[in-house]
Amino acid sequence: MLDYLIDFSRILIYTIRDVLPIVLLILFFQLVVLKQAIANVKKMIIGGIYVVLGLSLFLMGLEKALFPVGQIMASQLSDPVFLGVTDVGLTNWSSYYWIYIFAALIGFATTIAEPSLIAVAMKAEEVSAGTIKPWGLRITVAIGVAFALALGTFRIVTGTPLFIYIMIGYIIVMVQTIFAPKMLIALAYDSGGVTTSTVTVPLVAALGLGLSNAVPGRNPAIDGFGLIAFASLFPIITVLGYAQFMSLKIKLLKTKSEKNAV
């Protein structure tokens, strides 16, 4: 118990240091630049205390739960006894299929429930005048993230260079940008950043680092990172693809009904 308290007070001090710049920034602009009094001072102070306490608790829980879970899952799912393979089988990428399935499921499940994605999906429906359906978009993005994480874990297992995958992804995005409806480009680019939430990032990072520790011949410093990069790139591709698909579908329906009218 005492350990926890010492831990917590240490994290609390760090957190106060982290939040201080925001407080100073707001005070400076409010009082010096705009020369306005702050409305609702009491509410602001209580809110500030909540932020500091909440952030400290979150960071402490992260160390106790999310990081260990990601790492334990990675090491359990890549354990030779669990995989039922010999040392030779350990170097074969196809032995690790449970890892790919786990990564894909985590990607899908966390994305489909991601609050910021729900908000973006609703805005997309607004901008596209109903062409884009929120649920359709959410499912496409979730499938995109699931595929991204499965591919990302495959990359860690095989140790292939990250930049090749990302470069190909960029080229796909560039080509798609040329053809996608202009209204939705900014939204699609933003959706890449939106899918990786505060809870998902540490877990997924721990999964990648744990996996690169477990697979023989992999170096965590070189191979361990990159899963989040995959998860932020693929949604851009899927959102652009979905936008193109929907506008194409509407175009086809239009020409069809015009033909029928004639």
Binding site: L59, F82, M167, M174, T198
Partner: protein, 247 residues
């Protein structure tokens, strides 16, 4: 009556915090009970940790909504109305910088990265060097997010097309990848996705949409977005430069 309302509000907050975690819990429990079927190590500590994460996330979001978001939005709006470009740009930079420094996901990743790098012998294996490395990483990312917001705000003001800037950014990322040390590339690419979560997104979106709705001829929906895209692109470039400096 008031007591009941208060309780309901708290339950709602806990539920909001849970929606982030429930999918993860379901998938992990499924794998543990059906696929792996082995005792889960440190189960007590993990459950305690999850409990803390939920409470922490709940308080954090509640505090943000109570204090930071309203004042941030009002500030962004009044600064745009004030019409001083230099103050607006300074504010944009400071907003991007300060919100990124406090970003929980970035704090977690920077710490993990410093441990990995010191285990790999890339940086000196001492607590002090690790702390300096992690803090430097966070400052680098925060600086680049600040710069990204400035560029994004200028883009909204001048009406530059987003995709040229993004494609230019992609090319920069590729060029940096060639010269950057191989140990930093994965982390740098990840830094792009890490920066844009809980605190940064709502404040930055408020700034962008507010700007676009005040300036004539800009649509909040097409011009207002796109700030986040810059904020996930520039950190990649700058973290690779950071790697060049360290390794």
């Amino acid at each position: 009556m008031r007591y009941k309302k208060f309780l309901l509000a708290i339950l709602k907050k806990i539920w909001a915090a849970l929606t982030d975690l429930i999918p993860i819990i379901i998938v992990v429990v499924f794998f543990q009970s059906v696929v792996i079927r082995e005792p889960f190590p440190q189960i007590g500590e993990v459950i305690f940790g999850i409990f803390i994460v939920i409470i922490g996330l709940m308080l954090f979001i509640e505090g943000l909504e109570m204090a930071l978001f309203p004042i941030g939005e009002v500030l962004a709006y009044s600064l745009v109305k004030k019409g001083s470009l230099s103050w607006l740009l300074i504010f944009s930079f400071a907003l991007g910088f300060s919100t990124t420094i406090a970003e929980p996901a970035l704090i977690a990743i920077a710490k993990e990265a410093s441990v990995i790098s010191s285990n790999a012998g890339l940086i000196e294996n001492s607590n002090k060097v690790r702390d300096v490395y992690a803090m430097g990483l966070r400052l680098t990312v925060a600086f680049s997010v600040g710069l990204a917001i400035v560029i994004g705000v200028l883009r909204i003001l001048k009406g530059w097309p987003l995709h040229y800037l993004i494609i230019g950014g992609y090319i920069m990322v590729m060029l940096m990848t060639i010269i950057a040390p191989v140990e930093i590339i994965g982390l740098a690419y990840d830094a792009g996705g890490v920066t844009t979560s809980t605190i940064t997104v709502p404040l930055v979106t408020a700034l962008g949409v507010g700007l676009a709705s005040i300036i004539k001829g800009r649509s909040p929906l097409t011009d207002g977005f796109g700030l986040i895209a810059f904020a996930s692109l520039l950190p990649m470039i700058f973290v690779m430069a950071y790697g060049l400096f360290w390794f």
